[in-house]
Symmetry: C2
Subunit: 524 residues, 2 copies
Amino acid sequence: MSQALQQNGHLKMVRHPQIQAKAQALIPEIYHHDIFPQAIVRAEQDGQQIHGWRAEVVNTSEKFFQQDFFQGEHVIIDFGQHCVGFLEFACEAVGSPPDAPAHLQFIFGETLAEVVEPFSEYSGWLSSSWLQQQDCYLDELPQRTRLPRRYCCRYLRINIVALSRKFQLRFTALKLDTVTSASLADLPPCTTSDPQLKRIDDVAVHTLKNCMHDVFEDGPKRDRRLWLGDLRLQALVNDVTVKNYDLVKRCLYLFAAMTREDGMVSANIFVKPQVIADDTFLFDYALFFVDVLQEYVAVTDDSETLAELWPVAWRQIELALERVAENGIVRDSNDWWSFIDWHQDLNKQAASQGVLIYCLNKALLIARQYDPTKSDFLEHQISRLKAAALRKLWDPQSGFFTSGDSRQISCASQVWLVLADVGTLESQQQLLARIKSHPPEIQMNTPYMMHHYVAALLHVNEIEQATREIKRYWGAMVEYGADTFWELFDPQQPDFSPYGSKLINSYCHAWSCTPSWFIRKYLL
Amino acid sequence: MSQALQQNGHLKMVRHPQIQAKAQALIPEIYHHDIFPQAIVRAEQDGQQIHGWRAEVVNTSEKFFQQDFFQGEHVIIDFGQHCVGFLEFACEAVGSPPDAPAHLQFIFGETLAEVVEPFSEYSGWLSSSWLQQQDCYLDELPQRTRLPRRYCCRYLRINIVALSRKFQLRFTALKLDTVTSASLADLPPCTTSDPQLKRIDDVAVHTLKNCMHDVFEDGPKRDRRLWLGDLRLQALVNDVTVKNYDLVKRCLYLFAAMTREDGMVSANIFVKPQVIADDTFLFDYALFFVDVLQEYVAVTDDSETLAELWPVAWRQIELALERVAENGIVRDSNDWWSFIDWHQDLNKQAASQGVLIYCLNKALLIARQYDPTKSDFLEHQISRLKAAALRKLWDPQSGFFTSGDSRQISCASQVWLVLADVGTLESQQQLLARIKSHPPEIQMNTPYMMHHYVAALLHVNEIEQATREIKRYWGAMVEYGADTFWELFDPQQPDFSPYGSKLINSYCHAWSCTPSWFIRKYLL
């Protein structure tokens, strides 16, 4: 999840300093690991490869450190894995004393395409400021330099833009000081005997790790921000892998620390230089506060946090219910009110109905244990909304739930109404089977939506089908050489970007790391 | 002076650590002054102006700090004077919270042309790494930033390369933290009653000040290095203005700290990250060590320094005399063996003969006072070289000294043989007059060479003519709006550059600051 399309002019936001103080007290320890160049590569055009490029090894890293670079040359370093961290390097001059600065340009790529296709031709609609590059001018040589920004890359291209005629440049050291708040020291092993699932789990854990910093970030290259929808999925994987529960707790407190005047939590939070809730509010994301809290408490039994944050969660329920019309259906609108999936044509109404019921179910789990007076109310709402979904959204002719005035049929609507447990188990199983046999025109575009599809399959006990879908979808990314799972992946159009350029897609994205949760929790 | 064209493969250099330690103990105090934006300007094409550009004020600096910048906009700040220092600025986002980094590009120009004509079209032969630019990516806003490199500018262009659709950028602070090792607090007033000379003196002092840092730099924008030829002229102006004698002493020690195996001092010294003598050796520059030492001792009476450095100076004399042929004339060669002037076609032989005699005269001044046993030897050499110049180089037919096998006639040859005091006062006066009445084809290209011409006029007591030349030449730069004097100035071709582009010329150059010395010492 990545970009708000709306801007609300004069929103009133409210800060809750005591809650924010609790979040700030939970800033995590950061673990550092040095990653060194593994090989020097050349990019070869290859239509069989993802994005059309193949890396050919042309040199060892040992030879790289012996090479004298002349003005105009360049090198592409392969770190052998997806890294998030800080570049440190040392250079010296070879030849006469350096009589001019050395002008170097560093280009960082999660993918090979990013270091080969010129950024100058970028025309996507996300800011080009996300393209990872830095020009450096070294006034003194030898010099050891640490670039101040954090980068995200497997490949690093260095262009030797300008030296002088009197000297060449040699790198005497170069590494990435990688950072994460995930401690892999105590990572429970993944005990699956299926080698493909094992490999998928590896990539998923690496994805989660590289998204864990001061907060759970959505993607470490671009956005680098705490989104509720991403947090929700990261927290699940965290539960079965690195178990940094304090980081989940910190993120819950951050969402609660600054809300809209009416108590609605923002879709995402900026953490630096100060905590600011974005002015983007999404129906589904706000409701997910309930879900994250419920899962957190279920795992940790942290009733103190629950007591403090339950009113915040409850407020999201109240606000969401205000959007329900008399007929028991969530009101639709044309703006960016609910996320559901990155799909330009997707109508969000039916899926949002599903999200609401799903979160009411989660709220009911909390209420029964900690706030039983609310249980009856919740049960009543769940019944009402389920009945309305069946009455108003179900289309017997097509065998699908529809959404919006146009009665659109999408995968997302079916998936979310299954997750909401609308209908019988049998009807849910039939519905998910029908998605396969009669594919709706509006398909699923993201690993985020695919997660919900797999979760729905598991909800109806279709474990084998769930496994097949994981292998088909995430397995295909691994086949394409993914070190970490991508924000977007359509096997039919591997270059698809909702932002107008594959270069700006995130290739390590939080919401894509959930296979580890499925594999470790359900498929063992 | 700026670039060595030669590279000597396996030169043996010798370090003299005790001498270097004395230099390091003399690292000067740096004085800081904040300089703030004076106006916001627009560049207008104007063929009447130097380099074809005129600055039109379009906004006050107050309004600049209230302006919200959108992606794609730019601004040109005029600091109202030539500055050397560090840029500090603070930015904030206006609108929604900033959901992408702010990508800014800073371009610094001593002249307006540098911030208007694109660096991408630069094709000069000095390294493009000298072109002053920096791309900044601000990940967090608000943010206060200090760029780590020192820049040199009157104009600063800021390109707002990329923001996002959700926010604009506002500058809340911006200044240059300017630096110099010249203390202007005790600057003696320039008491000339001639307003044009007064203005020229102002610009010259500003030039010296902006070239004074850890060492006397040749130019603070490009090279930024200690060259012996520049040091020699800076030290003269220093004597009559800011009187930082310790800095002259430090620079003499730096040249003595690392020499060629045979004792020759380098033409220039790199100071950071460690002291390294360049592998460029010039006949005239090495000899100037004698001249700088003599002038330093004459002003300071520092006999301790003299005792320590006189052997180094003497060695330059010995080495230079080794280049004298049996006929008493300095041997010519085709490589870059002597500097004299930036002139592609200039033959350096006769002028170098002049430099040698001139420095022997300076050595004789030292010897008579401190090392009288060498006086006879020096007097003999001076007589021999002067006689040889008259015998071998003088061409009665043209009335000029000639140089090289082609018997080239240049201004430089005449000027340096006058400064060497070859011939009678009357013949010298006639010679300098003849430069005006019968201009040699090989003219003078730099303020450096013009300095020697003016010095020669003063040597023959042509004070009025010297004053006219200063007003004609340096006065024309002031008329063109110079805040500091330029490295290169040919009134006939104001865009002349020996480097292939006016953008890379230095517009604050040490060797151009000597009018203050003439005005304060000779013209009052």
